[in-house]
Amino acid sequence: MSAHRIANACRLNGAATVNFTFDGKPYQGKAGDSLASALLANGVVLMGRSFKYHRPRGLLGAGAEEPNALVSVDRGGGRFTPNLRATAVEIHEGLDARSQNRWPSLETDFGSINDRLGRFFPAGFYNKTFMWPRSFWEKLYEPSIRRMAGLGDAPSDPDPDVYDATYAHCDVLIVGAGPAGIDAALAASASKKKVFLIDEQDELGGGALADPALWGWLAESLKDLARLPNVTLLPRTTAFGYYHDNFIGAVERLTDHLPDPGHQAREKLWRIRAGEVVLAQGAIERPLVFEGNDVPGVMLAGAARTYLHRFGVAVGSRVALMATHDSGWKDLFALARAGVGVAVIVDLRESVDPALLAEAAELGLRVELGSAVIGVSGRLAVTGIEIARADGSGRHKLACDAVLMAGGWTPSVHLWSHSLGKLEWSEEWGAYLPGKANENVRCVGACGGNWSFGSGVHVGQLPTPKNPALLKAFVDFQNDVTAKDIALAIREGMKSVEHIKRYTTNGMATDQGKTSNLNALQLASSALDRPVQAIGLTTFRPPYTPQTFGALAGHAKDALFQPTRKSPIDSWAEAQGAVFEPVAQWRRARYFPRTGEDMHAAVNRECLAVREGVGIFDASTLGKIEVVGPDAAEFLNRMYTNPWKQLEPGRCRYGLLLREDGFITDDGVSARMAPDRFHLTTTTGGAARVLNMMEDYLQTEWPDLNVWLTSTTEQYAVIALQGPKTREVIAPLVEGIDLSSDAFPHMAVREGTICGVPTRLFRVSFTGELGFEINVPAAYGLHVWKQVWEAGQAHGITPYGTETMHVLRAEKGFIIVGQDTDGTVTPYDAGLDWAVGKKKPDFVGKRSLARPDIVASGRKQLVGLLTDDPNEVLIEGAQIVADPKQAIPMTMIGHVTSSYWSATLGRSIAMALVAGGFDRMGETLHIPSASGKTHTAKVVKPMFYDAEGSRLNG
């Protein structure tokens, strides 16, 4: 097939041919290839450009650790995924993969000018350079940096894919299906336990896939496991996070490897609760730090062995090895035995295991001990290396087309760290190993330190006779951090690894430093001359590898993002063409435009209809709580600011609820239905909060009170009828209730029937007009609404929405909690002294009303504002100043809380919180606007219409 394929000793022997493209160019691979192995097999070694310097990059590894070969995959129809590791992309017929972060092409990238200018981009460059002038940041620096930096492009279309999600429980969850994980699964399954074995790769086997000696065992073991009913095998599944109490998040990739995904979900989020977790995540090989260690063709030794045995791909035809660890020798021997040409074995150690030397001699391989690679030639691909002895002598060059690095192994303790397990430094590994567990978890195999890759030494940077200030020896490949950068950070005073990390960005790329953290620690340790353990360790956090937003969001998008609560009247409002607005989780009709009307015109018409005739309004979303029990009145008396014990059955009261700190948290009109029964209402958004607060006091402060609280918000539909003609509309529909003003005064409640349906009929008003609120069982709400609507036709009944409701209540100065108050407003600040029971010995928040800050002068108080120009409507939230001529920044004395055009009054009205507002009556204040114009307004009482209240008592 190609010169790079090696036929024998490969798992893909006889696999079908697969056609794919990379940057639009067609290639062929084999079924089972990763994109990385398939490109290598085609002689492609240049796969990406680096983040900062745009340096040409090839593969470093063969697995999850890959920092360089990041690609975008376009699956068509808006299915575009950037920043995928080529080592984790399975090829399939028609795969369309593209390189990133280059222009105009991967081979010729103009951004690589940054590489020549590299000496001007040291660690902390952004922090130091782009500080001044400040205005340049937004306009010049940030956009330029964003254009130049970054990896793949974000997809521009909405993701059309579907994502699945599931919960699962098991006795033993094993992460990683290498030899150690498979052994653990076999052992656990024998005891009839429910076992999950999950692995991020498409093929189970882990390290065994690169070791032909284990293939027989692997096939037998997997066959055994697949037969067991209590074992679930999950390939292509990445355990990305380990959370409290053995809760593991994992994503299974279902269709990305298929040429045609059909209608299947793309990925599935598994939320698994496990009795015991076994981590068998293996270890990641460590690169070595030397000049040119990022040239395409320089890669990890173990990766070369994986490409050879798993995929049948030779990473070069004349390969050099740079080792400080035995394992690299064995990887190279495997390549040599498969017929791959070897240039040299270079090892920093003066002496190595004689058995290694003997095998090298047997294979006829050149060995240079006590030496190091000090340079790599070639730009888009390796063409040779320069070698010197550790003392700098004996410099010479050799031709080669691949360089393998064997710097030892780093156990993969990512999930262990998520679980808050302790880590302990191991001199033997030159790495942190799992220590004391924080969950019911154990580590097996290499990630627990229980696997022998042989021995070696660990060095931060290979010795070199070259000037260290001019070296490009990379530590973090993905973020382009060099050994020089780390040295600079330390010279500039960074001593903790947390600071070094942030200053240099080492370990902060999407690979979370899988191949760089330990080298950076070693470098810092040598530079500071302190043991590695004293430098500290950064913390691994989920996700272990990048996951899609789609998988995490699952079904929770669009209409299912959060529930939309709809009142029983909602369908009627929709049919009438209502414009809706969200209020808490409800959708409420905002206004009912007639043909050609905008909101302003519709609201004006609706307001006048209520003031002059009759309006109908859906108030079903009001929170409702049924308070029942012999101590109900006593309980409400302690909760609300005003007295409740003397309220007669059949009467209503406006209740004001404070938090214990004295600030208003809710309000509403409530009725006493019987001596031991109250019908409470709360604000639409406050219903759950108020019930929680009342339950809290009832259960924990006054458990002796015999009271029961029940949420009845959704049990009732509430139809508000407001306006002078209200009584005429409902009179023919109501039975068993005398509607006359004497028998049924304002702020009273009666029970009877309306349209044959039992009702709690409230005579209340949030508009200042004569008004009734018809409470009927929710299931009858639409029926009654339609009957009332019919009956109202003769009287010109008009539906109105929340916008008109807001205007009408503002004309009367009624507050909306959360709009005219903000959690720092007391009843006194809001001008609601009348609602505070001064003679009551106690209620929630009473003591706080005597706190020094609450009684101090100068507090912000709720007032009305009338603009000098009646046609100007102030912007809600606008800041208010006393003197518009003062220097900027001005002293702001308050802000506009509510502001509307009042059709009733033919002018604008507003409410505002103003410092010392009650003492400013008649004063003119100034409201600067963004347009540059400063409005002027007079402070008045927040009562703009029918101050004596004759209309609502009519």
Binding site: H244, E695, D696, Q699, E701, P703, R847
Partner: protein, 90 residues
């Protein structure tokens, strides 16, 4: 996601069903008006915020609805035990 034992349901349920409700064993004074400003401030605002063992309130809000007390380690986020409201500090 933490698993929490509800002492009323006597069942271990996922954290999603519960809501945190602040430090435990801070009783509302019987007669707040008798308290000085400093004493009232202490009741309203001053909390222990320990590093380690913390007595705190939770509500099984999407379950039985009851408030109860718990001892949780603020470093490891592990629950040591839970007990009913009104029982002495543990």
């Amino acid at each position: 996601m933490i698993l929490i034992h509800c002492p009323y349901c006597d069942d271990i349920r996922p954290e999603l069903e519960f809501a945190y409700a602040g430090e435990a064993h801070i009783a509302r004074p019987a007669d707040p008006s008798a308290l000085s400003d400093a004493e009232w401030e202490k009741y309203l605002f001053i909390r222990a915020n320990p590093r380690g063992r913390h007595n705190e309130r939770w509500r099984h809000v999407h379950g039985c609805g009851r408030f109860f007390n718990a001892v949780r380690d603020t470093v490891t986020d592990k629950f040591e035990l839970t007990y009913k409201a009104g029982e002495p500090r543990k």
